[in-house]
């Protein structure tokens, strides 16, 4: 781990030396669907860690491939050196507020408030806020110990952050644990709602992850028996495109923090005083401002992923990919003939459904039973007398309701001379909801016997 130099310029140099000559911190394809553009964020330095001059940036070549093997060069691209300055950086400052933050810088207990790590950290933060000035950067502030406390939501109001710093209170004994990984997990989702631009979390801690449940043997008041892991913290940050910069403050630090920082595209620093800490804050921001944003017009591919290769002078290259899955899948197709047949078949069936009448008209006068059992039944009237009753011997059998077994409820008689059907009721019978004893029927009359409905249809006779 590198040591922080006091002179800001050298400090920046050491940071950049730690990084590779070419590092690709992000591939942003969120504008692909609307503007056909993909943005790449990369840091490009010479062998001494200094940012390459503007002229050499034009030598950066971009290639795309739908299969990771056959690449084509992208010619339509723009390289922007100050994108993070223009768009502003979203900082989330996460400060350790465990018991040890109230020791002095050498890790000794002290009664002198000004000598505590927390006070010194506050001074460094103040210095950082002053250095940001009225840039477009936004800052959120949170502290953690056993618990997690959001002190200030993301804002460009520097005074709000200063005020929030003053709210940090020395923790009681049970609050003095260092739930570092839990805090990273709690903080990451809070950056999700922030507007676009580079999202950076800076965590300052003077000790290792020291979970309440593991150390005290009692369930954590919020997390219970859950112990947050390094992998969870990495996943939570990666999921939201957040880069973590970690600062080991004073004499301590968590050995896993550098891994989390590295896997999220960030880096780790040591700081032993407020001035060193202020320099670290400043150098992180300066490094971010040196990032290049390359925007290019992407190709249109039928593949689930598209690989992007960045090649810089000296033939150093990096390959990343972005997801390109089509909503309907991609790649394979059924044979064209089959696809056309499916289309024609669907079209023909649909037209037939439109043209063919779906109801069949019967050729004989009939009675249609509604609501008798589960199925509707139709009885063609082929006899001069049709008896409706409760017996299975009757032409129409009414089951249940007020019709008793063997009871004859009504008779429909056909008059050959008049060609009419007449209903004669032996028991209470309704036709069109009117009680009747005798009624000449016409098509569409609804006979109600018991609980059953019978629709009379003589349309066939009338048509004849």
């Amino acid at each position: 781990m590198k040591k922080i130099m006091i002179i800001p310029g050298l400090l920046l140099l050491s940071f950049l030396l730690f990084s590779e000559n070419l590092s690709l911190s992000g591939v942003d394809a969120s504008s692909l669907l609307r503007r056909q553009r993909v943005d790449l964020y990369l840091t490009l330095t010479d062998d001494y860690g200094a940012a390459l001059p503007q002229t050499e940036r034009s030598d950066i070549s971009i290639y795309e491939s739908p299969d990771g093997e056959n690449y084509r060069e992208i010619l339509d691209k723009t390289v922007v050196g100050d994108a993070n300055l223009k768009d502003g950086i979203q900082f989330f400052m996460l400060m350790d507020n465990s018991g040890s933050m109230y020791y002095d810088m050498q890790g000794r207990a002290t009664e002198n408030e000004q000598a505590t790590r927390m006070t010194q950290a506050g001074i460094a933060m103040q210095s950082f806020l002053d250095s940001i000035g009225d840039s477009r950067d936004q800052i959120a502030l949170a502290s953690f110990n056993t618990g997690f406390q959001l002190l200030a939501e993301s804002s460009s109001n520097r005074g709000q952050i200063q005020q929030a710093l003053g709210q940090i209170q020395r923790p009681q004994e049970d609050q003095a644990y260092t739930e570092l990984y839990a805090a990273l997990n709690r903080a990451a989702p809070l950056m999700e709602s922030q507007r676009g631009g580079r999202k950076v979390m800076v965590v300052l801690s003077d000790g290792e992850n020291y979970p309440f449940f593991q150390q005290k043997g009692e369930a954590h008041p919020e997390y219970g028996e859950k112990i947050f892991t390094v992998d969870e913290a990495i996943e939570s940050l990666q999921l939201r495109g957040i880069t973590l910069f970690a600062i080991n403050y004073g004499t301590g630090g968590d050995p896993q923090l550098s891994r989390i920082a590295r896997e999220t595209g960030g880096s780790t620093f040591d700081a032993r005083s407020s001035s060193e800490l202020a320099n670290v804050y400043d150098s992180i921001r300066q490094a971010l401002l040196q990032e290049l944003k390359i925007s290019y017009v992407a190709g249109v591919y039928q593949s689930d992923r598209v690989w992007v290769k960045v090649v810089v002078p000296g033939d150093e290259s990096l390959v990343r990919f972005y997801f390109n899955s089509g909503l309907f899948g991609s790649g394979e197709h059924l044979p064209l003939l089959i696809v056309l047949l499916i289309f024609l078949l669907a079209l023909i069936c649909w037209i037939l459904l439109i043209l063919i009448p779906l109801e069949r008209h019967r050729k004989l006068p009939n009675l249609e039973m509604v609501g008798v059992g589960l199925h509707q039944r139709v009885l063609d009237l082929t006899k001069d007398r049709t008896v409706i009753g409760g017996s299975s011997d009757h032409d129409v059998t009414i089951v249940g309701g007020q019709v008793k077994d063997d009871q004859q409820a009504a008779t429909i008689i056909y008059d050959e001379k008049t060609k009419n059907y007449t209903l004669i009721a032996q028991e209470t019978t309704m036709v069109n909801n009117q009680e009747v004893t005798r009624k000449e029927l016409k098509t569409g009359d609804v006979i109600k016997v018991g609980d059953s409905l019978i629709i009379f249809d003589d349309e066939a006779t009338q048509l004849k």
Binding site: G326, G329, L353, Q434
Partner: protein, 295 residues
């Protein structure tokens, strides 16, 4: 037609719509790489896909009620609303899919569960927007809602099928077809569920050329007359005016009244100025007769 018959018919029309839209999508996908941008391609893809599904689903009620005019207006509205719904559905569905994928921290291969969920979610968004077509044609809030529900479930299940079959067969060819068949048919099924379960009743035509047809009272206001513009178009019946009567539905209360005082309506063989209907009432409009019955 029985409720079951309607159920099958709606599902079949949705299924045919799914098949036709699959073929359209499949043909367009063959030319995807000729487009200069995903935006232009997705606009065309969404519009074509939406039009196909919209035309079929928009015609469903007209087919069920044997009303050619309703079929025609359903097709026209299906083209317009389907195109819009398709464009929005494909755009937002695609955006959601890529957004979910890019936010996932899995760089090598996505776990099956997650890819199923992502695909299902993005198809649901697309299905919701497409499913609204018939409800907009009928200007019915509850139909829009049910169409959206059908699109949600159809999209979710269709998306899962697409991803699942592709996972095991390593081919989108068949999975795309099955996914879209499920999407279309489930939207149709939900239209049928709406008709069957969420209407206070149906009008069964008792005589004439439309004998046996059932008009589900699934809108706040329905019209009856000989004009094809009516919800129940009574062609070929004597004594029926162009717009003869209006049926209003308020919860479970169904009321019928003539469009003009001079027009005659009979309920249970008696002339009425207006009537709140009860089940098994027999209504006559001109020569046409209906039975108001439980759905």
């Amino acid at each position: 037609m029985t409720s079951r018959g309607k159920f099958v018919l709606y599902a079949l029309i949705g299924l045919l719509g799914g098949a036709a839209s699959f073929a359209t999508v499949d043909l367009l996908l063959r030319f995807q790489e000729s487009f200069s941008s995903y935006l232009s391609f997705n606009l065309l893809l969404g519009a074509s896909f939406g039009i196909m599904l919209g035309v079929f689903l928009g015609s469903a009620e007209g087919i069920v009620h044997s009303n050619r005019h309703k079929v025609l207006t359903g097709i026209l509205v299906g083209v317009l609303v389907g195109a819009l719904g398709g464009i929005l559905g494909v755009h937002y569905g695609q955006s959601l899919l890529l957004s979910l994928l890019s936010r996932s921290s899995y760089q090598d291969s996505l776990p099956l569960g997650l890819s199923l969920f992502f695909r299902a979610l993005s198809w649901s968004v697309m299905g919701i927007l497409i499913g609204m077509v018939e409800g907009i044609r009928a200007r019915s809030g509850i139909k829009i809602f049910y169409g959206m529900l059908g699109g949600l479930f159809g999209g979710f299940l269709g998306g899962i099928l697409l991803e699942l079959i592709n996972h095991f067969s390593r081919s989108y060819a068949l999975s795309r077809l099955l996914g879209m068949l499920v999407l279309g048919s489930l939207i149709g099924v939900f239209y049928a569920i709406l008709e069957r379960n969420f209407t206070p009743g149906v009008f069964r035509v008792l005589n004439g050329s439309l004998k046996g047809k059932k008009l589900a009272l699934n809108q706040r206001k329905l019209t009856v007359g000989f004009s094809n513009r009516n919800d129940l178009a009574l062609n070929g019946y004597n004594g029926v005016e162009k717009l003869h009567s209006v049926i209003t539905v308020r919860g479970d209360q169904v009321q019928i009244l003539p469009f003009r005082n001079a027009y005659t309506i009979m309920v249970n063989d008696e002339k009425v100025d207006q009537a709140v209907l009860k089940y098994h009432d027999v209504i006559a409009v001109g020569d046409a007769r209906f039975l108001f019955e439980v759905k």
